[in-house]
């Protein structure tokens, strides 16, 4: 093997990137076949939709579908796969099946920012609040706040988030009428020109509140519990005991010794969460009619719109893989113990 090839083979980053692309390739392939094997196909779904919507006969709906869909679902699936991979390699995601004139990439560009905006902010808020609360109850272990927050955390983290969303809607929106949710549906205020105007920014924030609140409530419990745990573990570490023995100030110990080391392992989880945020939440976004990627996913799923689904899954796959990679990087940067990796 020539020297430069050997050097390339030894280059860690390159190896890591290759492994990542292998994973993406495999997952995309698996996803492709999974999507195609899903029960129901876009034409069938269309036919049934038309029948139930307009009461026309099957034959009629089928005739319509035949002229409507210019899609090839008859050639062998592996041929379709090769075709799909070829197009994807040059960044061609094709057109939506159910909306033939709309490029898939346009939909992604249209939907993705909203999800990143709403989920991103909530992950951030939830993380900050969660670690503070977790640390607090770790110090006040056994106190009433500990009991309340721990119970709150274990209940909210065990109730599925869409139920949280529904309950929020019912109790605050319908029963108590605190939240004017009917005008908070959607992503942006109707009739306000998009731009960096205060009114618009104000508007998009207000529209994202309900989904964000749901995400925060359903994820904060996890942070609280984990943070409490790691804080307690760290408090028992030798260096903290030594620091206490040295008579350092309590606040200094809390921040520099316990806090830093307790948050460290949570950072990697945070980064991985960020990877998952691209997926959004189909159910939450549907409940609040929020035009994010999850909303697009649930619609395209219902219509079996293959290209759209595949593109969304690709986005999710890539972001998860890169987030994991980033988490690894971050981990080695943050933890002094694994500054260098030893290989034989």
């Amino acid at each position: 093997m020539p020297a430069f090839l050997r050097r390339l083979a030894k280059n860690f980053l390159l190896r890591r990137l290759l492994a990542m692309f292998a994973t993406i390739f495999l997952v995309v392939t698996l996803t492709f076949f999974m999507v195609r094997l899903m029960p129901g196909n876009p034409i069938e779904v269309y036919i049934n939709q038309q029948m139930s919507l307009t009461g026309i006969s099957y034959q009629e709906a089928q005739n319509q579908a035949a002229s409507l869909y210019n899609i090839d679902l008859t050639s062998p699936i592996w041929v379709q796969w090769v075709d799909y991979m070829k197009k994807m390699a040059v960044g061609d995601f094709g057109y939506s099946f159910s909306s033939p004139g709309t490029p898939v990439i346009k939909m992604i560009v249209d939907y993705l920012p909203w999800t990143i905006f709403s989920v991103g902010i909530s992950i951030f808020i939830s993380f900050i609040l969660g670690i503070f609360m977790g640390m607090y109850i770790a110090y006040k272990r056994g106190g009433w706040m500990d009991h309340i927050l721990s119970s709150f955390a274990s209940i909210t983290s065990s109730v599925p988030n869409y139920l949280v969303g529904i309950l929020l809607l019912i109790f605050f929106g319908v029963q108590l009428r605190i939240i004017p949710f009917s005008v908070m549906r959607g992503t942006a205020p109707a009739g306000v020109e998009p731009g960096f105007s205060l009114e618009y920014l104000w508007g998009i924030f207000a529209h994202a509140i309900l989904p964000m609140l749901t995400y925060i409530i359903s994820t904060i419990g996890g942070w609280i519990l984990t943070m409490k745990n790691t804080t307690m573990t760290t408090m028992g570490e030798d260096y903290v005991l030594v620091a206490k023995a040295r008579g350092l100030k309590e606040s200094r110990i809390i921040v520099h010794y316990v806090g830093r080391n307790a948050i460290l392992p949570l950072f990697t989880t945070l980064v991985m969460q960020v990877g998952l945020l691209i997926g959004g939440s189909p159910l939450i976004e549907t409940i609040f009619v929020y035009k994010g990627i999850g909303y697009a996913l649930s619609n395209s799923l219902a219509q079996r719109d293959y290209p759209v689904m595949q593109a969304i899954f690709l986005c999710i796959t890539i972001s998860v893989i890169f987030a994991n990679f980033a988490a690894d990087l971050l981990y080695s940067k943050l933890d002094p113990r694994i500054k260098s990796n030893v290989t034989e």
Binding site: F12, L13, R16, D328, S340, N341, V342
Partner: protein, 341 residues
């Protein structure tokens, strides 16, 4: 095996041994070679004791692990009874494995916390078919515990490690090594974590075993005083940054240290007589920092800290081990002599 069988045959020989790792700094950094051990050679005869002395990070534990066959050397040769274990067929290798045992530094880590003392000691007995059934095993375990002075035996045999003190645990660890009748034991800082009061009794136990069973010891320590006590009749090798700086019979090294590093180590040993300790002349190091293995100095690896270095010489060339007097080898351009005052 009786101690008289082959009185002077070398048990283990290390020849020009090198151990290196490829190290990446950070995830994206370039990979480079890190040499932990450089050109280590020594021979240990049956029944002998070789103490390896050095500061932490000097590679002494690695030497122990190489000798015990846990780590494979990068280059150079290790010979056990004249054979290189790494080229042996599998069954012979396992036999070598059994003959060479190790006593670890931390008795908290060397005993499995979820097992009882009986389980810990009986497992190798069953594995190597030294006992046939529970009753026999129990007898044998009791006998071994007796041998390492853990009595009354019945108080210990069914306990978990966390119910024992450090010294007691180290005795259990020693008893465990005895289950396979070892010929050669690597004692890696075996007593450094024990209270001073217990240290001597454990060391005495180890010496007793040498007398009784003819065990050969590679005794690794950072403490010249304990090496002096344990290895009275044996030899000492002083290591610094993966190299042997000086080696020779224990008493010779203690009374006539030639390498400045050895002399510094010796000068810091507290004497039994506090008056004597106070009057001891402390040799000052030029620098307190040990150079990083990633960034070794040119020339003699010790010269940046050496109070006696010769400019233009020590910072250019690396000295090799030279026999200064019979059996006493030193690696220095400017060796000293005479006891440390």
């Amino acid at each position: 095996m009786s101690p008289a069988s082959k009185p002077t045959s070398p048990v283990i020989e290390l020849k020009n041994l090198v151990k290196s790792y490829n190290v990446r700094s950070g995830v994206m950094g370039k990979s480079r070679e890190l040499r932990i051990l450089e050109n280590i050679s020594f021979t240990l005869n049956r029944g002998e004791i070789l103490s390896i002395v050095g500061e932490s990070g000097c590679g002494k534990t690695t030497v122990g692990k190489v000798a015990a066959g846990i780590i494979k050397p990068t280059s150079g040769e290790i010979l056990y009874e004249g054979k290189n274990p790494w080229t042996l067929p599998k069954h012979e290798f396992t036999e070598y494995r059994r003959k060479v045992q190790m006593i670890h530094q931390d008795p908290y880590q060397s005993l499995n916390p979820v097992q009882r003392i009986y389980d810990i000691i009986s497992a190798p007995l069953f594995r190597h078919k030294k006992v046939k059934n529970y009753k026999e095993a129990r007898e044998k375990v009791k006998e071994l515990l007796q041998r390492v002075d853990l009595s009354p035996v019945d108080d210990f045999i069914d306990k978990n490690p966390h119910q024992l003190s450090g010294g007691q645990r180290q005795r259990v660890a020693i008893a465990r090594t005895l289950t396979v009748d070892p010929e050669f034991i690597v004692a890696d800082e075996a007593v450094s974590m024990l209270d001073i009061s217990i240290r001597l009794s454990v060391v005495d136990l180890m010496l007793k075993l040498k007398e009784d069973l003819g065990v050969t010891y590679l005794f690794i320590t950072h403490d010249l005083a304990i090496a002096k006590y344990f290895g009275k009749g044996g030899r000492i090798a002083v290591m610094y940054l993966g190299r042997i700086m000086e080696t020779g019979p224990t008493l010779e090294i203690i009374h006539n240290p030639m390498h400045p590093y050895t002399r510094i180590l010796l000068s810091s040993i507290p004497e039994a007589d506090p008056e004597k300790t106070r009057s001891k002349k402390h040799i000052q190091l030029r620098s307190l920092d040990i150079p990083s293995l990633m960034d070794l100095p040119k020339g003699c690896k010790f010269h940046p800290r050496c109070p006696l270095w010769l400019a233009g010489k020590c910072d250019q060339d690396e000295p090799s081990l030279q026999e200064a007097s019979p059996g006493h080898w030193v690696s220095c351009f400017n060796p000293q002599s005479g006891p440390v005052a």
